[in-house]
Symmetry: D3
Subunit: 268 residues, 6 copies
């Protein structure tokens, strides 16, 4: 299969293992519109590629992913969710991505070697097995820019760490490191940063070499819970996130971020 | 908004933060009928009060809450759930309270500075973020007085610590301290008793100062899971609790409690 | 009640406590067809026996249970799920067993004194309270013989340790010891191997002596979540497991197991 | 298989079709405790009998079933749900019966040749295909004797006729005939009374002769919806029914029934 | 209980029956903000009023209810959902109303004597038993003014007439009369217009005179399905409705309505 | 957008309306592997095509669709679900198609001008609004060839006609005509055959001209129920269908079909 048209992802297939790498290191692998679109397409391509039995998700550069492009939002309001020519904000992009991930029956291992923020964290946590650096910071800081944590965080965090811990991390938008993340069950493994790639690859290769349909059916069975939870929560949360895009508090947060000052919220 | 008619709760609003305090310290903040009624009303008032952006739930005296008034039950059988003039035991009170809590979109932080038992534990665990003293004891001991843990414990404990740990704590009615509670995910934070008020207030004030609708929508999204679970479990558990009010084992347990001896159960 | 017709289980009732013991120590308590049938019947008998108020599940010999009889599979393909005279593989056996366990309102405590594998692990984890040896190894290695972890593992592991940890253990089929199992919430208690019987019995006797209906109603309420999850996941996972019985990868895995070599999977 | 120990049911197996007949015609096939127990056991026996591929449920005498034995209730309060030696009313009997029906994968056709009331209606509507006499009257009149329609009516009526029509029939306890029942979807077929046995038997025999596992898997798939609904509703409704057994209104209704007068309800 | 402060509703309690009447006949009982607020409060008052055992919902004037005040929307954009001083559109009003209706355990009969549109239809269909005039027109025409049918229609119509018929009525916003509504199961009874009040009152009084808790528990049991459905659908649909308030198509539809011309939609 | 690569579908876009036509009239529009693949792809293309606001699904020739290619199955066992090079039967194809249909937010109207069988019926019933010829025959006859009705029938039939009517049509595989289908709610409209195209097109064009996002959000909201049902049922039913592909009864049914004789089933 030819993956050369991907711009934000680098995809290499070898020994039945596809390595999918975030490839915008200069931008901290921040997720812009093109990146988001590729994050929908890639899981469908993975399903269709007969050479692929398992997937390793990794990232280039210092960070795993710094999340959405907040600076860009100041110049292009709602630019992060609204495409170039879209004339209305409508929930859908995140749903398509998460649906594609959950429909992908092939196992996905994620190597979180560095900071993993926002939509980047959602993607990482929706993979099957996560290997994190002990010092990598993980967070879903939607509220910090005045938005509902609507694009998947409210679905997956509660399943991994329980509803109350999830509510704290999502309502405050604060960070935890990989070691703490492993302790409370947010990630599968926490190891020193330089051991992340090796451990993640070993697990992924083991799965690529394993009995194909036994592994797929097992993964798919567990994913039925995630689908149920997604149907209960995601549509409401993304639509409410759309509503917060129209608030003054969101605009103030984006301005404050650009001006490197604390925002002053007005409550609407 | 005027909160002066509250008898068991003290409510103070300042800087967009409402501090709601259990105010029956001499009775260990045990929850009688009036208290229960106020615990339904307060969350609706919180929602309507335009000055309130976040809520801090705390308690006066040595204990956070010792639960229902068991001693009173011996004199007034079923007195804890049945109002003065009620002629039938019917599930509803706890449902109204928990519904009101889950419908309250504003974030609630709970400062568990001392022992937190029974219905007190249910209320605390249904808030969003809990800060507990390392030595505070937490338990839902319905079974100790021969009753099904029907008023919410069977809903929230399993979500926080998994079904098997929940079944043990609820079927045995035994206690765990704040430190252990944090380790297994029952509470968000465990700190020395004297640091509880400060940390809880800091988090609550941070939320009160944050972007209103981003926080509310995020909280509300996660709560959809709790509502689903509540609809599956609560009505059955409260109705079964009603049934156990008619058992000899319940009456014996209440008598034994009053007489400070071990109960002898007969199995009906 | 007369339990003398049980061949694989030994059942003793005393002081309102039934002790149900896996009784095939020479075979590592591996679960053959007869054993499976008894594991359906026993929970119905437990419900009907008026002398029984609580159940202690334990096992004789070195292992708690080594799982299904893989060696037998090589000689008698699909022999583990297909009865002697069955002419079609059809999901049902595991469902009947798990339904019977979840319908049993009496509390069940499980003493995992040694290794606890596959279907043995599923049975153990579907009890209410588990006491494990710190060094006992727990695993659901269906994938190791090329099968979907379809007979309950995909239902209960995610509820106890979250979906991502569950996916790792089930997709890799690897083992964890009791100490680690307790840390992540898979079992309730981990103690030295020789303390397992005593602690498990103490808890079970405490429940046997407790208020009957309060305990049953409490257990039953929490189980409603498990039933919901079972209805969402189990039928799909067992039927997919049936499908994998028809794969070359399963046959190769069974051969390799018998020949004590690494399997070479072909992907169909 | 030997069915001679059944007292209230007559069971004949021929040509892969089991005909299960209500056999208390003098009592209008009213369901007493023994009858209820047999209505749990029979579905398990049907599953195990290798000679049976489909089931025809029918009844002797003028009525299909007049429901529970209300007259008996006046002499033996709560006698209808409480066994001879039970010392506590506890929900369970109806659940075990409905679970057994839903777990029975073999298709069940019901011949409703005459009036079909209360628990009789619940059993009939939980079969798969119903053939009713145009003039047979169908009702679930729990409320007429002051009880919640808790033993399955609140589960199955809404699925067949929508929640609002179901609420009217269940809250008023009024009757509809077979013709109207067919029009609104409560039964599959309405034909003249004397054609009921023939049509029902034809359909049942057709299913008995059909492809076994295709039919079972199809039935079982649809039943997953009923199981979901049952888990949501039944436990709450049966437990609330237990609570109404303790009301004065129930006792008054039973007395009024025995004295053939209109009851005067007091509201507790 | 004193109901004199209600402005849009007239409430009379007699013989345990509360008659709640829409009381803005000159405005076709169109639902403005004050009306909406009263439609939340009234169900809570009904629950608390010890004199009330059943509720009859009716309306004065020619129409049952013409829905929201579309003309007002042109002058006061989003005025129908946004209160006078609200600075942000946020879903919640409809949820609070529907929650209050579903939590009201007392039976509600609705007399739809004339046209019943939009939010008026939602309220009517969320009651328990509906009696409609054969010629009354029923519709949920949100889409006609460019809005998602988000305030409850997408929850209740599918349950009453199946998802496909519901999608047609809701996506086209077209009307059906009472006779057709009865045929497809949307309402319980269709009778000539002048018989509506009598039949509705008879049913309501019958329920008011019936066994209180038997009726409440029965209603409540069925409502658990509606709650489940509401949690799955409502939050998403109301939040998406909010998003459509920001569309040009909505503004155009409102203008066209005021100018009595066909709207020209642009697709954003 | 270029649709010229479609082989089994003809796609024309005009006035914001896409007309998608089954284009294998000589084969009765029977669905082979290529057709199935296109029925997955087309809904994704519909979503992405900015020129399309609504979709009309129709068919050329005498029949709407005669279902899968049973004759082909005799020559190429399992050929209908297994692709040319697939080496294992695995559920997925139907899921991908139904997911794509449910994710398509644009309204779909279906013109069932002639017989509509099996997978053809599933596709038709999963559209939003169906217009059927009064004499067209509709059926899902999986059981007639010894297979579980696993590819969606067990999901959608019960939602449209209730579980019991659905079980009869699916377990017997018998046909009903459009008039009867409308009466029981299976289709939205039944009209004479020659009026089907006009009415279907009128409705579809009306939706294409309507307010885009209001319609999409309304449709999507109702679809959340279908998704919930699909997650509960489909995976189990498709996997059980796979299992029945391995039965002798399936092979016999296919042979009997080719030989135009009645099958003789053996029960395995």
């Amino acid at each position: 299969m030819d993956y050369s048209h991907y711009q934000c992802l680098e995809i290499v297939v070898e020994n039945k293992l596809a390595t999918v790498t975030f490839n915008r290191p200069e931008q901290g692998n921040s997720i812009n519109h093109q990146f988001h679109i590729e994050l929908i397409q890639v899981w469908q391509d993975m399903m269709e590629d007969g050479e692929v039995n398992a997937i390793l998700l990794a990232a280039k550069g210092k960070y795993f992913c710094v999340g959405g492009d907040v600076k860009g939002m100041a110049e292009r309001p709602m630019g992060d969710v609204r495409g170039e020519n879209d004339k209305i904000l409508w929930p859908g992009l995140s749903r398509h991505m998460l649906n594609a991930m959950l429909e992908c029956e092939k196992p996905i291992v994620c190597a979180i070697h560095g900071d993993c923020i926002g939509l980047g964290a959602t993607v990482a946590l929706f993979t099957d097995i996560t290997v994190a650096s002990e010092t990598a910071r993980i967070a879903d800081p939607h509220v910090k820019i005045g938005l509902v944590a609507g694009d998947g965080g409210a679905v997956i965090w509660p399943l991994l760490v329980g509803p109350n811990r999830a509510k704290e991390y999502l309502m405050r938008g604060n960070r935890l490191n990989g070691r703490e993340a492993e302790r409370i069950g947010l990630v599968n493994h926490a190891v020193p940063a330089d051991e992340v790639p090796k451990l993640a690859r070993e697990i992924a290769q083991e799965l690529a070499d394993g009995p194909t349909w036994a592994i797929r059916g097992t993964k798919y069975s567990v994913n039925k819970w995630l689908k149920d939870q997604l149907n209960t929560i995601l549509d409401a949360s993304t639509a409410m996130e759309m509503v917060t895009f129209h608030t003054e508090d969101h605009r103030e947060a984006v301005r404050a971020f650009a001006e490197k000052r604390k925002p002053k919220f007005v409550g609407y």
